[in-house]
Symmetry: C2
Subunit: 678 residues, 2 copies
Amino acid sequence: MSYILVTGGAGYIGSHTVIELIKNNYKVVIVDNLVNSSYDAVARIEFIVKQSIPFFNVDIRDHNELSKVFQSYPISGVIHFAALKAVGESTKIPLDYYDNNINGTINLLNVMKKHQVKTIVFSSSATVYGDATRFPNMIPIPEHCPNDPTNPYGKTKYVIEQILKDLYQLDKFWRTAILRYFNPMGAHPSGLIGEDPLGIPNNLLPYLAQVAIGRREKLSVFGNDYNSHDGTPIRDYIHVVDLARGHIAALDYLKKIDSNSGLYREWNLGTGKGSTVFDVYNAFCKAVGRELPYEVAPRRDGDVLDLTANPTRANTELNWKAKLTIEDACKDLWNWTTANPFGFKIDNYTWSKFADYENRLHTIKINDFEVSVINYGAAIQNISINGQRLVNGFTNPEDYKLSNNPLFGATVGRYANRISKGEFSLDGKAFKLPTNDGINTSHGGEKGFNKKNWLGPVAQRIDDKKVSLEFLLVDEDGSNGFPAEVETIVKYVVGESGLEIEFEATISESSQHDATPINLTNHTYFNLDNSSSINGTQLKLSTSDYLAADKSNPQLPSGEFLSIESTDVTLTQDVSFDSCFVVDKLASTLDSRDKPYKTLVKASKPDLPITLEVSSTEPAFQLYTGDFTNVKDFKSRSGFCVEAARFTNAINHKNWASQVTLHRGEIYGSKIKYSFQN
Amino acid sequence: MSYILVTGGAGYIGSHTVIELIKNNYKVVIVDNLVNSSYDAVARIEFIVKQSIPFFNVDIRDHNELSKVFQSYPISGVIHFAALKAVGESTKIPLDYYDNNINGTINLLNVMKKHQVKTIVFSSSATVYGDATRFPNMIPIPEHCPNDPTNPYGKTKYVIEQILKDLYQLDKFWRTAILRYFNPMGAHPSGLIGEDPLGIPNNLLPYLAQVAIGRREKLSVFGNDYNSHDGTPIRDYIHVVDLARGHIAALDYLKKIDSNSGLYREWNLGTGKGSTVFDVYNAFCKAVGRELPYEVAPRRDGDVLDLTANPTRANTELNWKAKLTIEDACKDLWNWTTANPFGFKIDNYTWSKFADYENRLHTIKINDFEVSVINYGAAIQNISINGQRLVNGFTNPEDYKLSNNPLFGATVGRYANRISKGEFSLDGKAFKLPTNDGINTSHGGEKGFNKKNWLGPVAQRIDDKKVSLEFLLVDEDGSNGFPAEVETIVKYVVGESGLEIEFEATISESSQHDATPINLTNHTYFNLDNSSSINGTQLKLSTSDYLAADKSNPQLPSGEFLSIESTDVTLTQDVSFDSCFVVDKLASTLDSRDKPYKTLVKASKPDLPITLEVSSTEPAFQLYTGDFTNVKDFKSRSGFCVEAARFTNAINHKNWASQVTLHRGEIYGSKIKYSFQN
């Protein structure tokens, strides 16, 4: 299976194109130097397409690093976006533009040549035409319109086209598609990715969007005395998703070329329909639902009446046509803008590489309350107040992979807690899992959810004092012996003094099997004073009921319930728990999220101001005093767990099985809350 | 004093421009990566301009190395030649062209900016116009002719012009001269530098030259059916020296610009007079003196009838005009070609850096006879037969600077041998030199010719078995206390079994004083079997006469002559010489070169096949048995010298003074020959 290398794949048009590539079953490698883009875009792409995408933080001018990418993946073609792209800026730092864009491309082409990769789709621009109105009969603009770029940005695009043309002249096996964009606008309908311009936006739509959310005072309309229906100049605005689709059309076209020939060809990507500034303004105001402030300013130098594309060549040859309207684009842009008022930048949220880009450390800090989560196991790596740790976690990524890592902070699945002998049946069909806990299978087996890098997260601001992080895992059909491919989302919502964890799981459309047992929880080890032991910690349980042990298999329930004498428990050396307490004996629902939160356990320690309350929508919780924890600096009883979930081994008890049996089309859900008083 | 940086200064046009710059009192620093040029060009430039020129073997794409150059010299402007320049080649390796030319220039401009250097003369080309005949009224071609280059080479020039234009748009303090060359031809009238194309020449003249000397069979004339007086196409051929002068005119023009403004301007450099291929062919045949073979071939794609320049703008604004004719160019080209049939490449001659470019090790090897000379002291570093050393020399450059280096192989001057008490008078005026040998001054004093890096050499093939090396030293007025600035040339001519050394010295035009004492020799220490001692060596002297010692100053002659008993001398431990033998008691001439060679000494060693004969046109020779030699591995009597020259202290003996008194307009000359039998 070969890959398409997308340079600048974290950028505005690049990120949307990556999504379309994957929708069209291409494999993608992304190279981006992130100087004008954010890795968060890549994380969100992965979340959207539900798969991980190889990413290299490499500058295309770096010959050695770029060569390594070509050595690491079998690359069959390149879509080349990487470039500086602001017309105004290009007149202020032209050398940077020539260096980044031209030198960068020359280096890319040298590396491609070295690796015999001769298929390229190049991200060019209508700016290569310059002022097409100077020529007779060149509006709408056809590809044969003379080129005369009027600014360094446009010149770099023009020069690169020339270089590609020379290469093809020399070696007719090159397959080169030049795509000349008109005015991209809009965002992905998911609202997860979109344009995130640095500084003051150059373009109409991003500027309008910032006016709409109050980042800018008002729009300036440069000239309303043009010869158009409303006096403002006419441009060809194209939805970024349509534009992205154009790249797939071009790539498909190049693929079809007879193997003993090549191609060099330019295509305009535009709608062919011109819109005035006011047309766009009105469409966006409609999407926002109110009039936005604007003023009419004098014409800008170099602006002309009409620069509409003639896209006939792309329509006929590439069998591609823009489908979306400026109304669609405005709706999607507003959707993106309201969800991400400051683009990919989220207040109170930061991340850093933990092991690598696939496993990052995500930290949300609200006042003095801080929570850190890693991609590996979507695990809570730290919860702290005033920098004081409250949970067990490693600082070295490798430690999480230790076989004796007791699932510190991890998301546990596909099936939390134990399944008797690893056996169960679904809809009359019997299954047998590999066992990993004596004769039983525990916490999903050897390579459960806690041992995988989760996709994402999508970080989003909820309000000034709340940020959410959503991680996604696609657990393949047959993973650890479980039937059905399952998509699980874990959402952390961090506030001032606590966090909520929400689980949601469904069976993928593409799954072979239609059902699976499922039981999800979070496996945080609490230690309220970050001491070597939890001894002395006082617990107040909300229930005295727990599942009685099965004589023949003592770690598993018989089906009976028992009670402890007192729900007030002080953890002393001789007080150990690894039992499933029950708060709703009749529980049967698969999605508990609409139930009210119930307090499960309150924890405190004498003379310690900090207290913990664990609550949940779940019917049960495993209380574990970590007696068998022994890894690195952490010894036995260095933390205790309150694992809110379903009844232990519920899949094998007919009265309980409905809690944990997920069929295609159904949704598994639950919520857990960790609250701290200080 | 500021410097002009010349990139590509070792190339064809660059080297000629450096000469014109220095003629116009500019200081020059040369940067060249030598991929398509030769350092020998720089050595020859230094020989022509009689001064050393800082040279850096740096690729302009190397940011750090290039920055160092700007840090090392105060650079006020740049003339930028460095580029790949073959149109045909550019269509075969376009990426290399874009990388070298465009990236190189971007890097140069970044470094210039960093060092606040904003004056640049750019070497552009008429190729930016492409086929100007397509446009109405554009022949002769004016600067406003539309640009439409038709090959990668031309495109790189076009793009660089655009980059420079953008820089000026951004920062109006830049002073940018774009010089668009038409068809350079010819060579420097000295015959020392010229075009030295790699591989098959692309251009008419170099190709014709190679036909003329038999390197190519015949010229191909592409098309004789054009609408010209003889059917061949018309171009604008300009003498490379005129072209070089154009750069000085542009630089002067930029210098004159008011300090609070700048400029971006293009100028054609052409004659304005078109010549056909046959016009040039005939002119060159005339220069060669015979008809050269040619054939008429079909027209080449892209060739057009007439591409003549309109140079009016340069004529009027730069006050520059091409003065030389194609006849001049053909004469100079033929002169260069006959003297350098293979350009800077000389059979039997090689060089390598010894200390650096200023002090190189030059080796001539004819069959099994090999001579090596270094720039430092223009000293003979080695003479060998079949790899067997015959003279003393160091292999480490630093050793030559040791205070106890006994002038191994060195050229000795300004005054070889001793001057009594360092005192002499010239034309009634008394002079006193610093003494360095007891009460006397010996071999020119502390920093004589042997302690200086000589310029050049100019290496030239004389015939299959003879190569010459010419070194130049300009010894300033007052150097070591001597009056008058003296220009000395030492020429080594190496043949199959020996070498001749020719000395020539004159007083510079620019000298303050009109006269100086002078006495030149070579100070080679012979050791025929490369053993630790010369003891056992047998000498046959051609004379028994030597200069009697002055009682009061025993190392100096009284004026009387004495004789030794036998002219057959065997050098045993107790046989030492440091005496001046005389072969012409009545000698009085300043230039002995027209006299016949006289044998001075024959040397041999029992059972050793190799014998030496030293002969000269000189009247005397100092025989020295190296009794005080003691440096590094060389001990006393490790070599003997036969220093052919004038009488010791002749300047202070009225009968002898004419041998060593050089007046302005006179020429000092002498010849020495070292012949070996084997």
